[in-house]
């Protein structure tokens, strides 16, 4: 028993710090979600729909006329909290069943998974998608592999990917802000794809607003500032590997620059590396998904290789496939299933080198 509880204690520490690191991201998500929702409503009040989240926002007194800080937070919470609560309830429900079937104690890993899943969905994601994605995340992402700490891909990533694959029409709008039913905007990366930096300017996106996260996007992934705060905490607690994180940025920068330098650079191929970092959910994914301590490479050269692979794949898919404007989900899915292979190769290579040294 104590052997298991020692391991569980380590996991509990990791989970606490993960949740703490997600706090700035969640706050940014709430504020930005409310801000975007109210500014859409202010531009076109007739769009107010009659669903739970809009009613809740109105009930909390969030007004789109001259909105202030309170209005943003109220409207943001009205969107964020129901989604998070639903994800927690569904996750807890499946965990209960798994724990009862296996006659084990209840695992708490579903809490960060629920939070991550919510943060990677748009503020208007239908509740059915959350139920569906969370069920897949817990059952297929974690349950059948033996629970917390035995996953080989991040369960939250799997959940979001399954939602995107299952509902392609929603996935097209996935990176967009659509807090209101029927509202169609355009994702920042898709904009750049069509019209370059000028198109971003038209939509009011500049470096500063993209940095603090004041742009439309999935809930938690817009603010580089908040993600950076979380990353600093995770790095200082030594939960994520700095090599893996750095290698991802290097991979992104190198491949983006190569595309910029290639002769016929247009669309997303002309997008400089800093925009790749600022727009879309790359930074969020890099810190919270790809560096998942249980699902990433654990050898030092392996971390460099896998990180570079993720960064390169993100840019490659963004440039090559305009149906995935924000290529983070497929790129990270692809890269995380290579982790065991990379580790295996690195260890085999190391054994061979050492064998040669001591003939």
């Amino acid at each position: 028993m104590s052997a298991f509880s020692a391991a569980a204690g380590g996991q509990r520490r990791i989970r606490k710090i993960q949740l703490l690191a997600l706090l700035p991201v969640s706050i940014a998500a709430v504020v930005n979600c409310g801000y975007q929702y109210l500014s859409v409503l202010a531009a076109d009040p007739g769009r107010a729909s009659d669903d739970l989240r809009s009613n809740l926002a109105a009930g909390l007194g969030a007004s789109y006329q001259e909105p202030g800080f309170y209005d943003w937070i109220a409207a943001g919470l009205a969107h964020f909290l129901p989604m998070l609560l639903l994800a927690l309830v569904i996750g807890g429900f499946w965990e209960r069943i798994i724990a009862a079937q296996r006659k084990r104690a209840l695992e708490s890993g579903f809490i960060p998974i629920a939070l991550l899943l919510t943060l990677m969905l748009p503020g208007s994601a239908p509740f059915s998608h959350i139920v569906y994605g969370m069920s897949f995340a817990i059952l297929l992402g974690k349950g059948i592999f033996g629970g917390d700490g035995k996953t080989f891909i991040s369960p939250a990533l799997l959940g979001v990917a399954i939602v995107q694959v299952s509902f392609p029409s929603a996935a097209v709008q996935h990176p967009l802000w659509q807090g209101l039913a029927g509202y169609s905007g355009s994702d920042a990366i898709a904009r750049f794809h069509r019209g370059g930096e000028a198109a971003l300017g038209e939509a009011g996106i500049d470096l500063w607003s993209a940095f603090i996260g004041n742009i439309s996007g999935t809930l938690g992934t817009t603010s580089l500032l908040a993600v950076g705060l979380g990353a600093a905490l995770l790095l200082s607690a030594r939960i994520i590997a700095w090599r893996l994180l750095l290698a991802q940025f290097i991979g992104l920068a190198v491949v983006a620059t190569l595309f910029n330098l290639s002769g016929s650079a247009e669309g997303a191929a002309a997008m400089p590396a800093y925009w790749h970092l600022l727009l879309g959910s790359f930074a969020f994914g890099a810190v919270f998904i790809a560096c998942d301590p249980f699902a990433s490479c654990c050898t030092t050269p392996g971390r460099w290789i896998q990180g570079f692979l993720i960064g390169a794949l993100v840019v490659l898919i963004r440039v090559a496939n305009s149906t995935h404007p924000d290529a983070v989900i497929p790129a990270m899915l692809l890269a995380s299933i290579t982790a065991p292979l990379i580790d295996h190769a690195v260890i085999a290579w190391n054994i061979r080198q050492r064998g040669r040294r001591h003939v």
Partner: protein, 219 residues
Amino acid sequence: MQESKWRILIRPLIDDNPLTLQILGICSALAVTTSLDTALLMSFVVVCVLALGSGSVSLIRNHLPHSVRIIVQITIIASLVIVVDQVLQAYAFELSKRLSVFVGLIITNCIVLGRAEGYAMHNGFVASVLDGIGNGLGYSLILILVGAIREFFGKGSLLNVQILVPTSQGGAFEPLHLMLLPPSAFFIIGGIIWYIRRKRPQQVEKPEFTLRQLRQESE
């Protein structure tokens, strides 16, 4: 030990199912189960080929030189598949176009060769035919189940009869695109295997590895 004829026919349905226990013929099960009608047709074709193939191989089993047996088996199976393909094109042209290459690929369906080599080479004609039909039915059972689940959740219909109204036509049902992609068949077959092995624990394989107990840190 002589099995009763009835056992030979029934055993491959669940106890020795070609898909869920022998793990044969998975590829075609992923490919043809996007809708129920193709799954039904494929099941029918495979049952025919399996029964005739096993029967034919069993008839000539004592005259077959050991070294060329696989070639002869494949020739018999391939001829049968071509006949079935021609019959399909004559009487069910539309469906045969949708099944396209997969009817031809029954030649490479592991179940057919597996039963011919593994059973028909050592058993009499009647037993071999029954074994072929039984395995074909076991394959069909899973195929029809998976096809029904995939068509129902992927399109909201069964046998092309719309049961749930999709959102694109104003209904409340949101089709799961995932179900129309091959990976969903993996998930569903995996789920079926899990369920069967839960009900019949004797099918569970012995683990190849056991996790080492963690050392206690407080010592």
